[in-house]
């Protein structure tokens, strides 16, 4: 059984992604915190700004330990979304890569364009089915 693809999501969209879905997203490494449940495993917090609002994503790093954290650098995470207690959202990372120096604006543009294209294509295909 192959895993689901990690579809690109913007950090502010992660909270609306369903449980168990595979995602790719990004953020600046703001913090490394020891998990309350298991002190040996740490969690990373990736932070992003969008329209003057800060969005934090908790990343469970068990599968990618050990990794050399570079605070305040940009990271890309590929992992599975999990709901935590309360309204929390967490990503269990399968891949966590430092991409410091990335052109975020270009990445955002690429994601938007790709989505637009794939949506147009799906709409076109469903039109054909109707007629």
């Amino acid at each position: 059984m192959l895993p689901e693809p990690g579809v690109f999501h913007f950090p502010w969209e992660i909270s609306s992604v369903q449980e168990g879905a595979a995602v790719r997203t990004y953020g600046r490494l703001r913090d490394l915190i020891a998990s309350i449940r298991n002190p040996e495993v740490s969690e990373a917090v990736l932070s992003s700004q969008h329209l003057s609002v800060q969005y934090d994503i908790t990343v469970h790093t068990a599968f990618v330990e050990p990794f050399l954290p570079s605070l305040h650098s940009h990271y890309i995470v590929l992992g599975d979304v999990e709901r935590t207690e309360g309204d929390g959202v967490m990503v269990r990372a399968r891949v966590l890569n430092c991409v410091d120096g990335i052109n975020l604006a270009l990445l955002q543009q690429a994601i938007v364009e790709q989505r637009r294209y794939l949506q147009e294509r799906d709409e076109h295909a469903s039109h054909l089915k109707i007629y």
């Binding site: 192959l2 991409v99 990445l107 690429a110």
Partner: protein
């Protein structure tokens, strides 16, 4: 079943011929453990996940030990290019680029196969990509998008001449093109063999008779009227087509348009060659053409004034190419400009 190490393995294209490949072979565990390793690598590009079959050569494993032990390459004191050392470095680089870990960015090239109802990519080449700031991935996303929009999603438009190729008319077209080509080749080889400088239609038309049996059938509208068409007429028509094609290519031309239909063979026309060479030589000395050389159209216009009005551009281009081949002139800024090679050049 297994090739011995070092023995040449047949191409993957032929594997399907081996019935054992598609069956669940009953093997000793000992042999399974010794088998050549293939990695099933699931690759995720954000739109989907597909298995890639990447075969790892046993030779890598042997080389790994040899390379690892000497992994710190000693800098040669002699300096210069040391092929043995460079080869070791190359092998190490190749090996490292094939060692894969989860999270690595890969470029995979191969063909799509369906195996046990699953689509897979049978990789013919794969390597790790170093992409520290995601530049490669981002430009890949944009590039693929444009490829789809500009090419893949557009229906391929066949040119008009090819559009009806799978109709009966198309078959005829293909056959007549091939007959024309053969007829042109036949005529030219005869002319060259005999060293003809010029010829008349009656001298060569007979050569085309054997090709008539290959000529395409007439279209239905013409069928009744051409039932009685003599073979000489057919030869005549074929000759007309061939001579036009040869003229278009510049291989033959008519120096004088008159009742007497005489064709000059461009390669053999010594007078034309001399006149062209003189024009290029004289004009190459003039200040106007000294730097860039003479343009082919200028040369053509001079030849038309001095030699024959009926010389075409393709004929003069052929003459100029012959002169260049024989190192009498050379092309300057592009294939449209020539200068004379003087002794002082």
């Amino acid at each position: 079943m297994q090739t011995e190490q070092g023995e040449h393995e047949p191409s993957s294209l032929l594997w399907g011929l081996d019935p054992v490949l598609s069956s669940f072979a009953k093997l000793y565990v000992k042999d399974i453990l010794r088998m050549r390793e293939s990695s099933q690598i699931p690759v995720d590009d954000g739109t989907g996940v597909i298995n890639c079959l990447c075969w790892k050569d046993e030779k890598w494993r042997e080389n790994t030990d040899a390379v690892n032990s000497g992994a710190t390459l000693q800098v040669s004191n002699k300096g210069g290019f040391n092929p043995v050392e460079q080869l070791k470095k190359l092998k190490l680089a190749q090996k490292l680029s094939a060692q894969l870990e989860i999270g690595d960015l890969l470029r995979v090239r191969g063909s799509v196969k369906t195996s046990r109802e699953q689509r897979e990519i049978m990789a013919c080449s794969y390597y790790k990509v170093n992409d520290p700031v995601m530049e490669v991935q981002i430009s890949w996303m944009m590039e693929v998008l444009h490829l789809y929009r500009d090419f893949y999603d557009k229906p391929f438009l066949f040119t008009k001449s090819v559009q009806h190729l799978d109709t009966a008319e198309g078959d005829d077209l293909l056959r007549s093109l091939s007959v024309l080509r053969r007829a042109s080749r036949l005529l030219m080889s005869f002319i060259r063999e005999k060293g003809l400088g010029s010829f008349r239609p009656k001298d060569v038309q007979h050569l085309l008779m054997p090709l008539l049996s290959c000529a395409p059938s007439c279209s239905t509208t013409q069928q009744e009227s051409t039932v009685a068409q003599s073979s000489s007429k057919q030869v005549h028509h074929l000759f007309r087509d061939v001579i036009k094609a040869l003229q278009d290519e510049g291989l033959v031309f008519r120096k004088v348009i008159s009742q007497d239909e005489v064709y000059q063979v461009t390669e053999q026309d010594k007078e034309l060659r001399r006149v062209t060479k003189d024009i290029v030589r004289e004009d190459s000395g003039r200040e106007k053409y000294a730097e860039k050389g003479c343009h082919v159209l200028h040369i053509l216009s001079c030849v038309r004034q001095t030699y024959s009005r009926n010389v075409s551009k393709s004929v003069i281009e052929m003459v100029l190419r012959c002169l260049e081949r024989d190192s009498e002139i050379f092309s300057t800024i592009d294939q449209n400009h020539y200068k004379y090679i003087s002794v002082t050049d």
